[in-house]
């Protein structure tokens, strides 16, 4: 018998958790700081989101607990610490929301988020997530291939890359406010893929996880998930997708070019300058495990990089 997140977290528990949240919110109203801390801890009880499991995209490992996947996040828009996104996620307003898809295409269009949800049938895929910091999770995402959305705008032959832009709004993303010593990253956060990577069936335009609408701290209302690349490549809270002929500048590459390349494919044999990428710690496990080439998706994506020196194109 296989362990599934739906087995361990029945609906009734979600409901009771929601009540707990409500209680915590009430407490926060009177209790001040301590109460607010209490709100930060419980996992999000998001609206349920229906999706058909796609058995073709399903890693064999047990999914990470939702509690972990929604409280241990790198999302610098909320702050540089991993607990910041869960603590401050409520400042983001995922509705109303628009995604502008433009650049080198014949039918540029600005999609309302409700339209984005209906471009293709929602499917559930269980992907490995490998963070560049050498930890990993297994997450059941909900979405559809990004290719379905890109097809609607009809990319021109000149288009060779796709650039993703995350919302820039310091009111909703407190981490974007300049700090005492300047900002953490150059906002807005941008990421990019080669067009063939963006059109690859594994590249998922994602609107939910764990049977729910995407929690704010995980990149609501819409993000991409590219499971064979380090996590930071998977841009969150996307407001713009632009087709272009030039390799887009990416936020982390601008911040530390020698540490974060454009490709950033998971690769155990190419170390980060400050640590080894040969192993990873799966959240919830004690011993490190070996990191797999392309995060275990080599048979599906290795052909994208035939003839390329992946040590140079890190």
């Amino acid at each position: 018998m296989r362990f599934r997140y739906s087995d361990v977290t029945p609906e009734t528990l979600y409901l009771s958790r929601r009540q707990l949240m409500a209680g915590a919110v009430a407490l926060a109203a009177v209790g001040g700081e301590a109460g607010r801390e209490a709100v930060a801890a419980p996992p999000p009880a998001g609206a349920p989101l229906k999706a058909t499991p796609n058995p073709a995209y399903r890693v064999q490992d047990a999914p990470t607990r939702l509690e972990a996947a929604s409280t241990y996040n790198n999302f610098y828009e909320f702050g540089v610490n991993k607990e910041d996104p869960a603590r401050l996620g409520h400042t983001l307003r995922p509705r109303p929301w628009h995604v502008q898809v433009d650049g080198l295409c014949n039918r540029p269009k600005t999609f309302d988020i409700e339209e984005v949800l209906k471009v293709a049938p929602l499917e559930e895929r269980i992907y490995g997530l490998r963070c560049v910091e050498a930890w990993s999770m297994v997450i059941p995402w909900i979405g559809y291939p990004l290719a379905a959305l890109l097809k609607l705008v009809d990319p021109r032959p000149a288009a060779r890359y796709v650039e993703f832009t995350t919302l820039k709004d310091p009111e909703q993303f407190p981490g974007q406010k300049p700090g005492l010593f300047g900002g953490s990253l150059d906002w807005p956060y941008t990421e990019g893929l080669r067009l063939d990577e963006a059109l690859h069936p594994l590249t998922l335009l994602t609107v939910g996880m764990y049977g729910q609408v995407l929690p704010n701290q995980n990149g609501a209302p819409v993000r991409v998930v590219i499971p064979w690349k380090y996590g930071f490549k998977s841009a969150k809270s996307i407001v713009r997708i632009r087709l272009t002929d030039a390799e887009p500048r990416t936020a982390w590459n601008k911040a530390a070019p020698q540490e974060y390349g454009f490709f950033s494919n998971v690769n155990p044999s190419v170390d980060h300058p400050r640590w080894s990428q040969a192993t990873e710690r799966r959240i919830g496990e004690f011993r490190r495990r070996a990191t797999l080439m392309f995060n275990g998706y080599a048979d599906q994506v290795a052909s994208l990089y035939t003839g390329m020196d992946l040590k140079k194109n890190y």
């Binding site: 607990r65 530390a256 170390d271 640590w275 959240i283």
Partner: protein
């Protein structure tokens, strides 16, 4: 300071230096060490080490600026606790993080400068901890002992470097520690300069 005052001071200091360890044990008991406990514990123990190292180095400047003599009575205690946390920090890295994977750890020490300087700092602290007893001070003689214990400055600089190097560049914390260290060493340098010039004047007036 009265005997009673000294006892009260020691009690407070012991409580403060044990607080980080107590917080971690409490976190372990209540399962609140984040979802990546090994990383969290490593980081907390590292923070405790550098804070105590800086606290140890703050005692002499405190005496110089205030004229009080009691800060010096805490130096050995704080220094040994800095060493204690450094050893815990290192042990967690070996046992929990890498589970005795010596080859990987050896690679890290050689290839990653921030680990190299961290390990070096710890090694430098070993002779200091070993010679911290009153018996050892006597055996070495005050002068040699003092000279040996100047290694703590090197260890502190390397410790700060270790933190700056490993942390994400957007974090301010490591730079704050480095700034504090710079101020503490600055006060010592100022004092040294003052004493040298006094000696010079004395020599001058004698001539």
């Amino acid at each position: 300071m009265t005997t009673r005052g000294r006892v009260a001071l020691k009690v407070v200091v012991w409580a403060v230096v044990l607080a980080p360890l107590a917080a971690l044990l409490y976190g372990f008991a209540t399962d609140t060490l984040t979802v990546n406990p090994i990383e969290y514990v490593t980081r907390e123990l590292g923070e405790a080490t550098i804070r105590l190292l800086l606290a140890t180095l703050a005692l002499t400047p405190l005496r110089l600026l205030s004229g009080w003599s009691w800060p010096i009575t805490l130096r050995r205690l704080l220094g040994l606790f800095a060493f204690f946390y450094a050893v815990l920090h290192f042990s967690v890295w070996i046992v929990l993080d890498h589970f005795f994977d010596w080859r990987t750890m050896g690679d890290d020490v050689l290839k990653r400068p921030w680990i190299t300087v961290g390990v070096t700092a710890l090694i430098l602290l070993i002779p200091l901890a070993a010679t911290s007893t009153t018996g050892m001070i006597k055996r070495l003689g005050g002068r040699a002992w003092r000279r040996l214990h100047r290694l703590v400055y090197v260890a502190a600089v390397l410790g700060c470097l270790h933190y700056i190097w490993l942390a994400k560049k957007v974090l301010i914390q490591p730079w704050v520690y480095a700034a504090v260290l710079a101020v503490l060493l600055g006060i010592r340098t100022w004092d040294l300069g003052r004493r040298l010039s006094q000696r010079w004047t004395m020599v001058g007036s004698r001539g």
